[in-house]
Amino acid sequence: MVTVADSRREEILAWLDEVKDPEVPVLSIRELGVLRDVDVSGDEVVVMMTPTYSGCPAMHAMEAEVVSTLAQHGVPNARVKTVYSPAWTTDWISDEAKAKLAAYGIAPPGRVESDDLVPLRRRAPVECPYCHSVNTLVRSEFGSTACKAILFCNSCRQPFELFKAI
């Protein structure tokens, strides 16, 4: 049975699909997994969000955007609650969203159980999002944002970013 609260929650989640990651504007915060849930049971709407990285500077911008987006849809009493558990993982990004990343020129993250979190082991080859060659190398483990690394494709001679699997 779909209750009034359920449909209200769904409606709000759909509105929040408008909020994009400011650093990766092809993904919404819902697709990214930063938007965890919405609680409509109380007097105010509580939006639960989790940061990608502990020090992600885009979090404040995303929180402000959530509140202002809901205000535009006539929800003046929305509040963001930050939750840390379970810890954010790139495994929450759907295949469809990963395809959007690749089309945008960012190599999508592989599954986390791969080598990325084994500190002393090398990472599996990454495919170039432009020419699909795996003849690529890591230029820097860190990129323009906390969530990305910088790679270079030896086949098409193009630098590209990788969304790090964590």
Binding site: S54, P86, D116, P119, I166
Partner: protein, 284 residues
């Protein structure tokens, strides 16, 4: 430039700095902390390591030898400061005196900081920064693995998140240690000198006292003495690949966990805290 000279002076100036007593101030001792709130004290130790090291790394912003590394060090700094912010917020809640994470970060003096001395030392050259970060990261992964399993859910949640970041940091710094150690004669010599200088300070990372024991018993802490051999394994593996020689254990400075610091921490805090103290309540 000034970093180099500060590192050079460390040996001679550090002699008196184990005594962090300031005239007129109440001496900070372990006992004052135990009596009051061991979980709060323990959380400060965890948070201050990250806050101080994060600030040190941020000093590289715009100065690193290559652009990629400038970005990398700033990224690691952000992770550490973000972790410190979460831990200090939790510490403030545990203390129950209404102190926010900002109040704890910007309105405590050096004598109230609980970080290990290793993280407050000046950055030195790039080798010093990287070798210190590697030694810390190898320790930090083990700390966070254990904290992720404690019964305090808020702390375990923060640790589980931070652990992913710490593993990534370790991956990066281990790679750099290999490159510097097994690189040119110059990079090898600098990496070895950095290791020799920093090694004595690693002992403090594995010292625990009654504060830590009480926090562990309360399900809100980590027993750092329990994994020294694990750390040693990781470090020996990477340093071996880097062709660097592990220094002998000898004199080991200590005291950071009870507020006794090198002179460098006070200077660093003067810089870090100046804006918040000149403009209390300032916001972005």
């Amino acid at each position: 430039m000034s970093r180099e000279s500060e590192m050079g002076n460390r040996e001679s100036s550090n002699g008196g700095s184990t005594d962090g007593w300031v005239p007129g101030a109440k001496p900070a001792t372990a006992t004052s902390g135990i009596a009051q709130n061991p979980v709060f004290e323990h959380l400060l130790r965890l948070a201050d390591d990250r806050l101080v090291l994060g600030h040190r790394l941020s000093e590289w912003c715009g100065h690193a030898p290559i652009l990629e590394e400038d970005i990398a060090l700033a990224n690691i700094a952000l992770d550490l400061i973000g972790q410190a912010s979460m831990l200090l917020k939790l510490a403030g809640e545990v203390e129950g005196k209404g102190r926010s994470e900002d109040a704890l970060a910007y309105f405590r003096d050096a004598i109230e900081f609980r970080n290990a001395q290793l993280v407050e030392l000046p950055n030195g050259d790039f080798a010093v920064t990287i070798v210190r970060q590697f030694l810390f990261d190898a320790w930090d992964v083990l700390v966070l693995e254990r904290l992720a399993a404690v019964s305090n859910e808020a702390l375990a949640g923060i640790a589980a998140k931070a652990l992913k970041e710490a593993r990534y940091h370790l991956r990066h710094t281990a790679e750099w240690v290999r490159m510097l150690g097994d690189g040119t004669a110059e990079s090898h010599a600098r990496a070895q000198r950095a290791l020799d200088d920093l090694w004595p300070y690693t002992a403090e990372l594995f010292l625990a006292d009654a504060v830590d024991a009480e926090a562990v018993a309360a399900g809100s802490g980590v027993d750092v003495e329990s994994f020294r051999s694990r750390w040693r394994q990781t470090v020996e593996q990477v340093l071996g690949e880097a062709t660097l020689a592990i220094p002998k254990d000898g004199f080991a400075p200590r005291g950071g966990r009870t507020g006794r610091h090198t002179e460098y921490l006070g200077r660093m805090l003067a810089d870090m805290q100046s804006l918040a103290r000149a403009h209390p309540g300032a916001a972005w």
